[in-house]
Each structure stands twice: as C-alpha cells, then as structure tokens.
Point group: C2
C-alpha cells in the first residue's frame, strides 16, 4: 500500500493568506481604479479575514500612476484588528511616506538575479542591497516591521536558473539586518514543486526563526501545486491576488499571481485552517471586471465553489420516469 | 526540519500520459475540424510519444457531428508501435464499429452519480451497467481491451458529494467483468487533492492488479495538484487534453480537461520520467486555434517552458554601465 502522506491532508493546520492584488495587481492595470473603489475593495478584503493586505505602493506617481493615491487609500481604509496593512516602498523617501501613512509593514523589493535587478531597478544587486539596508534601518528606528521580497528566487526570465547559493546569500544578509520577514517570489512563474520543496525546506533549516512568505505565479499552471509543496516543506504564509489580478510582462495574456479565492478554496477543501470568508472574497472578485475593464483569470469565479450545485435538466423527471419504466 | 517528502521529487518514476483532446476536446467544438487535420493531429501526438490516444468516438453522427468521421480517422492515421489507439463507444453498435476500425481499446462511459447518469445517458446506473456489461463481453470475445470511465467519481454538479462506496461498488462490478482498466473521472473539476489522495490509495489497496487512470479537469484550478496527489497515492496513468481543449458544460468559459503540455512540462521539471516530446506537443497545440476558431486555455502555450529565456532590454548594456559607474 502507498500511504496517504499528510502533504494532502490539511488536518486543521493554519495557513496565512496575504493579499497583493491591490498593489501587485492594480499597478499593472491601464485603467485607474477610482480611489473610493480601492478603499471599498481593501475594506471588503479586511472583512473577509485576509491576514495581511499589501494596500498600495509609495512609489513615484509618474512611474506608477495607477497607485498615485496611496496616501489617501491608507488614510481612509478601515483598519481591522489582526490585519497587517503593508505597502511596497522602493527607497527611503517611499518609506518615509509609508510611515507617515501609518502602514504596519514596509515591503522592500530587490531581485535575486543580477540581470533582472539591473533591468528592473537599474542597479546592481550590491547597490540595491546597500540602498535597502538604509530603508531597513529607517523602519527599525521607526518601529515599523520590514519585509523584504526577493524576486526571481526560482528562476530569471533572462538568466534562467538562479543559483540557490546566491538567493541564500541575500537571505542571510537581510536576516542579519533584522528584517521581520522575507518573501521568496516566483516573479514569472518558473518555480516547480520539486524545486519549491527543496528550497523552502533548506531555508527553514538554515533560518528557523525567520518568517518566510511564498509568492507564486500561475503562469505555467503550477501555482497551487507550488503552494502545496511549500506547505509540505513547512511554509505557512502565502501571497495571492484577488481574481488572479496581475499579468506577466514576459508572457502577454498569461496569468500572473496565484488567485486568492482559488488558493483559499482549495486549501479549505483540503481541511487546512484558512479563516477567510470565501463568499466575501468572491463577491469582491466579481466586481473587479467592472473596475478594470476586462475579465480576470480566476477560474473559480466562473465555476463557483465545488459544492455550488446546478439544477437537473428541465425534463429530468420525465427522463427518469421513462428510464424506470424500462427496468 | 520538515523532511522533503518524495511526493515532490519524481526520481525518474515513469508516468503514462494519455491524450483525450481528439475525442473529449473536439466533441465539444462547434467547428468541424477537417478529417485531414484530425489525422495530422493524431499523427503528431503519436510521434510526440503519448502512451495512449483516444482518437475519436463511435457514436451517432447526429448526436456528435464533430466526430462523424471516426472510421476514416482510425483508418488513415499512422499506427506507432507502443501507442494504444482507443475510442469511446456508448453501446454494442459503437463497439462493433470500433472493432471493425481496429481500435486497440474500447472506452466505455457511465456515471457514478445516478442523477448525472440519468441526465446524460437517460438510463439509471443499473441499466447502464447491464448495457455496458454486454459491450465488455463483446470486447473480450473480440480480443480487444476494454476500459471503463466512471464520470463524477469526485462529485456530481447536481448531487454534490458522491459516496465512495457507490464508486467502489461500480469498480468492483466492472473488475469482476474483467475489464482491462478503469478511469476515475473528475468530470466537472470537483476533485481536490485531499480527496484524490484518499480515494486513489483506497482503490489501489482494494484492486492492486487493476489499472487505474485518473482523469482530472482544471475547472477550479486544482488539476495539477490533483495529478500530484494521485501520483503520491500510487497512480501512474493520466488523461490530459492538448491545449486544454474541452470546456465544462456547467461553467461557461471555464477550462475543462487538464492540459497535456502543462502536465508533461510540470512532471518533467519535477524529474518524473515522461517520455513525451514537449516541443512536438506544443507545436501541435499552437495549431489548434486555427483549427477550432478560438484560443485554447493552455497557459504554457502563452508563456513557453520555464527555461525558454527572454532577451534583456535593448538598453541593458547602457543601464549596466551607468550602474557600475556609480559603484
């Protein structure tokens, strides 16, 4: 007999879901989502029970006009106890704005791939690290938690494989700086479950007290499988994006971030403890197409939860009667 | 330390991939795919190394006009040694036609759900079983292998949960008839990995010599995760559909069958032994939109395999030089 390994049985294990659609998703959209709608969306996500919400980004309004209302959104949302309200900050100036806006957590980003870091941030990794070290110090002195997201941990669309040693060197350096969390990002959907299981298990052995979040994209259909592989290796914090908002710049038309409602639905089916109100998330997701002007990748939004039943055909009673008459 | 469980490491284990797009996929399409294109598609799939191909269905041409050319397709395709050429047959008449057309395997279908069986086949399960028992006998006397596909094993869109006992009762009865294989079908994408791991493990304990195929749909984004849960529970034969062809009648716009190239790509990444030429499958999948007149759900077709690299930005050398000058 092949044993039923517990990888597949949640057995009540608590998994933390962190929403990134309001930042990572909306920043990609051509349409500017009105500030009031952003606030309403964050409030719906808070009420639904997400553990953390990356509300917006404190970046240059010229560079990311979609998120130019970060201050207003952070000021106007309802803050639910127990929900961590985070924002992306690229530098000291952004961190100062975010701290003024009373975010609970600063999220810093650089890439594990030298080529990707240069192409996206126009700095070498060494330069990015030095710049982010200043931001970490600022956050610590202000008493605000700092999380660092490392892009391309599982592969770079330009370089290919990224050496685990290079990823771990960056983790070690940020861990030494005293960051409160590290997010391992599969920025373009290159991660596969065998790799995820290995990398997460190794990272947890080496930094047992560090909080790791896993950020997967479903670009090649491996999103949920990667989440499950990471859980089996001990991870319990995951980023996801409502509706599956957010595409992939390297694959036009492909999906990006894993979809919040799909991950929550699957994990709840599997008996993981994910205290998120799925109906509320789906209700919020259903409003997205009107806000952004196009369909969202969420399959669950089309199909509904697995036990949302469909009526029998209109002639079912007659069909049944005729069948039984033949017996 | 959380151990890296072997569920995630293929370690060279052989997985058999069975193509259903040419039957399960094309039968749903409004456009009639010309016979010559169907033949070319099957030949490409044979050359790519699929283990089994469900080539067509011997059903009423009035009921399924898309597959009205089953005889011609079966006669004209190139038969590769080692590839099993199967066809769906609903009844004795269909089986006779299929046997005349020299199929290697008859695939019979009924539902594990009484409501679904009545709604789709207009018979009770008891009536379907009696009718299929005749077809099994015909196949056996003709020396042609018989596989039985059970729909709604993991849930019924009208009834909800389907009791495992009812599924296992049907498996037992077909096993007693001496069928060569049984396919457990997740007809509308209701299966989740915890359930799959349990059901497959139990079935393999009870019928250790039976060949089980798992047929998953990606309707709610759980397709690959279900494949991996089934593999962990001992399964090694999977249906999949090129391009992800085939939708879900209960969820307009939702995807149906898991996508052949996505499953092959993921399993090969994970070091499972899947001797399928991924490039050939993707080449064939890329031609599908022209044949059927619309996009296919395959994400991999949009994004490419994970190590298909992208060029750096055009100004990358200048960006790098400027960055280095600042160091």
């Amino acid at each position: 007999m092949t044993a039923v390994h517990s990888a597949w049985q949640g057995a009540g294990r608590r998994i933390h879901m962190q929403e990134v659609g309001t930042r990572d998703g909306l920043q990609m959209e051509a349409a500017f989502v009105p500030t009031a709608d952003k606030i309403a969306l964050v409030n719906q996500l808070s009420a639904a029970g997400l553990d953390k919400i990356e509300v917006s980004a404190f970046v240059s309004p010229a560079a990311v006009p979609a998120l130019r209302d970060a201050e207003v959104v952070l000021r106007e949302i309802e803050r639910h106890p127990g929900v961590v309200y985070a924002a992306l900050v690229p530098n000291v100036r952004g961190a100062e704005r975010a701290i003024e806006s009373k975010v609970d957590e600063l999220n810093l980003v650089m890439s594990a791939s030298e080529t990707h870091n240069l192409a996206n941030l126009r700095m070498t990794r060494a330069q990015s690290f030095r710049a982010l070290a200043e931001v970490v110090a600022l956050g610590r002195s202000a008493g605000v938690a700092v999380n660092v997201s490392l892009s391309c941990v599982f592969g770079c669309p330009m370089e290919g494989e990224v050496a685990v040693d290079e990823v771990f060197d960056l983790i070690e350096r940020f861990d030494q700086l005293g960051v409160h969390g590290l997010t391992l990002c599969d920025t373009t959907g290159m991660a596969h479950p065998a790799q995820v299981a290995r990398v997460v298990a190794m990272a947890r052995v080496r930094w047992p007290r560090q909080t790791f979040t896993l950020h997967f994209h479903n670009t090649r259909g491996m999103g949920l499988a990667n989440v499950l592989a990471a859980i089996d290796a001990g991870a319990d914090c995951f980023d996801a994006s409502i509706g599956g908002l957010g595409g992939c710049p390297y694959a036009p038309g492909a999906t990006g971030n894993v979809c919040t409602e799909e991950i929550v639905h699957a994990l709840q089916c599997m008996d993981f403890h994910v205290p998120v109100d799925l109906a509320r998330v789906m209700h919020a997701a259903a409003r997205l197409p009107a806000l952004i002007g196009h369909e969202v990748p969420s399959q669950l939004l089309k199909a509904g939860p697995r036990l949302q039943l469909h009526p029998s055909p209109a002639d079912f009673a007659a069909v049944r009667e005729r069948a039984l008459a033949r017996t």
